[in-house]
């Protein structure tokens, strides 16, 4: 019994089997729009393969069974997507649930594998789970939109978004340059740079720290929905006003993190510097900045997501006729929802990449920190 519940992916596998059984039973009712027999066959095969995998056969078998399991799922998903007619009943949704649970079980199986350190597989391994998760999510979205016949003007299907994405690369690129390269990056650099410099000043004068941080936290709470139009009024329609919004958004998170980081040295470490009679700069460079790095990177990561959103939001309140925020708000009005989602996709990819960039750099710079050495 323990085995049934406690091994990785066990209850997902159980759920998968139940959902398939349900689809079978309901499908026997025989209405037209039930999952086709190929779908059911593939799903049953998936249940069997997963069962075989969970019996922990020798290594080669495990790899083969895992691949077979995945392929069965993909086949079932594809076949189900192909036969959508729009009048699906409970059996259809059971099959959808089965595929979703199957994906989850697959992720559980893969997550449990501990690849050998240093191998190529070890590098790819962390990507598998999120990718499978994402693909499953997209598939459920696609299936649901098609099956429920959700109007295109409310929520387009991922495939439509993808097509629109591929067809509009030029426009997307122009918008990306306007919003990310001009607005986001400049604002991010100015905001974070200023925050770090300011943190050093504030850190030096306790009076400033005690006065500025509370006031600064208060000012940081001014919602950008209100400040963005004001910045457009002050700095014009083009990217400077977007950069200003970004600066306003990232400045205080970065400041707070840096100040906290600079204060994060241990008493003994500071005492050591005192016994060396080290100067302020020496202490800063050799002790406080290195010790602050985990916090600084924390701030940079938070600001990376804030910055892009800030620039996009700012464009909602006035812009030249390009930019991601401009496009999104304009295309909503034209009911070109696929274009809207294509831009949202760009934003998500870009934001994640920007975040990932800082996360990678963090790994290199703060390799010494316990949080980077093990979980």
């Amino acid at each position: 019994m323990n085995r049934v519940i406690n091994t990785p992916g066990a209850w997902q596998h159980l759920g998968l089997a139940l959902a398939v059984a349900l689809a079978l039973v309901l499908g026997l009712g025989g209405a037209a729009a039930q999952p086709s027999s190929e779908v059911i066959a593939a799903l049953v095969a998936a249940v069997v393969f997963a069962y075989g995998y969970r019996q922990r056969p020798p290594k080669l078998w495990r790899v083969l069974l895992l691949l077979a399991f995945w392929n069965a799922l993909v086949f079932a998903a594809y076949a189900l997507a192909m036969q959508q007619t729009g009048a699906e009943g409970a059996a259809f949704w059971s099959a959808v649930a089965a595929i979703w649970l199957g994906g989850w079980a697959f992720v559980s199986f893969v997550a449990e594998v501990r690849p050998r350190a240093g191998s190529l597989w070890a590098r790819l391994h962390p990507l598998v789970a999120p990718l499978v998760f994402g693909v499953t999510l997209l598939w459920v979205w696609e299936t649901a939109v098609k099956a429920l016949e959700v109007p295109k003007v409310i929520l387009p299907a991922p495939s439509e978004i993808g097509m629109r994405f591929a067809a509009s690369l030029d426009v997307l690129w122009i918008d990306l340059v306007q919003t990310f390269v001009r607005g986001t990056l400049s604002g991010f650099a100015i905001g974070c740079g200023a925050a770090v410099v300011f943190a050093l000043v504030v850190d030096r004068y306790a009076f400033l720290r005690r006065g500025l941080l509370p006031v600064g936290n208060f000012l940081a709470a001014l919602p950008i929905i209100g400040t963005a139009p004001i910045f457009v009024m002050w700095f014009g329609f083009d990217w400077p006003s977007k950069a200003a919004v970004v600066v306003a958004m990232v400045f205080f998170p970065m400041l707070v993190n840096t100040v906290q980081g600079l204060a994060s040295t241990e008493a003994m470490q500071r005492d050591l510097m005192r016994t060396y009679s080290a100067g302020w700069w020496q202490t800063l460079v050799t002790l406080r900045l290195p010790a602050a790095m985990p916090f600084i990177f924390n701030g940079l990561k938070i600001c990376a997501t804030l910055a892009l959103i800030g620039a996009i939001v700012a464009e909602f309140f006035g812009s030249p006729t390009r930019g991601m925020g401009f496009r999104i708000s304009t295309e909503v009005g034209r009911l070109q929802l696929d274009m809207v989602w294509a831009e949202i996709t760009v934003a998500a990819l870009l934001g994640s990449a920007f975040y990932g960039f800082w996360a990678l750099l963090e790994k290199r710079v703060t390799f010494w920190h316990p949080s980077q050495r093990s979980r």
Binding site: M268, Q269, D271, T275, Y276, T286, A291, W368, R373
Partner: protein, 265 residues
């Protein structure tokens, strides 16, 4: 009395230090009067919380006394600190995790402006001394606790301060390594004429190393006995079996016990 020097390096007169805490004042030190001469090796021993660390920190200008006077080399502790008179080994290793062992040892050398070549040479020398040659490129967390402690001793030795203050430096080491490092420390001290202040919980260690043993007692932290060691400067390990040694150890133990019983009331 085998000690050579006579000029006093550290002079405390009626020194007192009271911490203000929420629960009221804590008298960490009270009426401490002590003279340490140049080239002396002084051990501090006493029950936990009696103020040994606090006294060492006060000498190094890491705490400010609240009563009495304290001079170091005729200056205030703060001036002495700015003249870089101290090497300090803390109770815990306190290495910077983002620097290698070599980098940690070079840290004070960088700050004090030694040349690159000199840094390298000194680093190699002290690593040798604490038996860590070959670990220069490792990071602190890759070493066992004892090794880290030794690295921190090496760091304090690297820049040849005149006054070496060591707070239980060998606490985390096993007996054998400890014996060996005791010997090394004695040799170093004999060679360089440094003045050393040394906190320990081990009576044999205190007796073996010191020219002067200061026994302290808590609440309030104060000195209950000062024992000048009659042992010769040259001390083989088996001196610990000599009667003289056992007698001193006995006196220290009695002093400790007395302070303890008193505090228990």
């Amino acid at each position: 009395m085998t000690q050579t020097p006579t000029s006093s390096v550290i002079q405390a007169q009626d020194l007192g230090l009271t911490f203000q805490t929420n629960d009221g004042p804590v008298h960490a030190l009270k009426d401490v009067t002590l003279t340490i001469n140049k080239g002396e090796f002084v051990s501090f021993i006493g029950p936990s919380g009696c103020g040994k660390t606090t006294f060492l920190r006060t000498i190094a200008d890491l705490e400010q006394p609240t009563a009495g006077t304290l001079t170091v080399n005729g200056m205030s502790p703060s001036e002495a600190r700015k003249a870089r008179a101290y090497g300090y080994v803390f109770q815990a290793a306190g290495l910077y995790p983002w620097r290698t062992i070599g980098g940690n040892i070079k840290l004070p050398l960088e700050i004090m402006g030694f040349s690159k070549a000199e840094q390298k040479e000194r680093c190699a020398r002290v690593l040798e001394l604490v038996e860590l040659a070959g670990f220069e490129k490792k990071f602190p967390w890759q070493l066992s606790g004892g090794m880290q402690q030794r690295a921190s001793i090496a760091r304090a030795l690297a820049f040849d301060a005149d006054i070496l203050l060591m707070d239980e430096p060998f606490g985390a080491l096993d007996e054998i390594v400890r014996d060996r490092l005791n010997e090394e420390l004695l040799k170093l001290w004999a060679r360089t004429e440094k003045t050393i202040g040394f906190v320990t919980h081990s009576i044999p260690e205190a007796v073996y190393l010191s020219t002067k043993i200061v026994v302290m007692s808590p609440r309030p932290g104060r000195i209950t006995d000062i024992i000048e060691s009659p042992l010769p400067k040259e001390r083989p390990l088996d001196i610990r079996d000599s009667q003289q040694f056992i007698d001193i150890a006995h006196r220290v133990r009695e002093g400790l016990r007395a302070g303890y019983d008193e505090a228990a009331e």
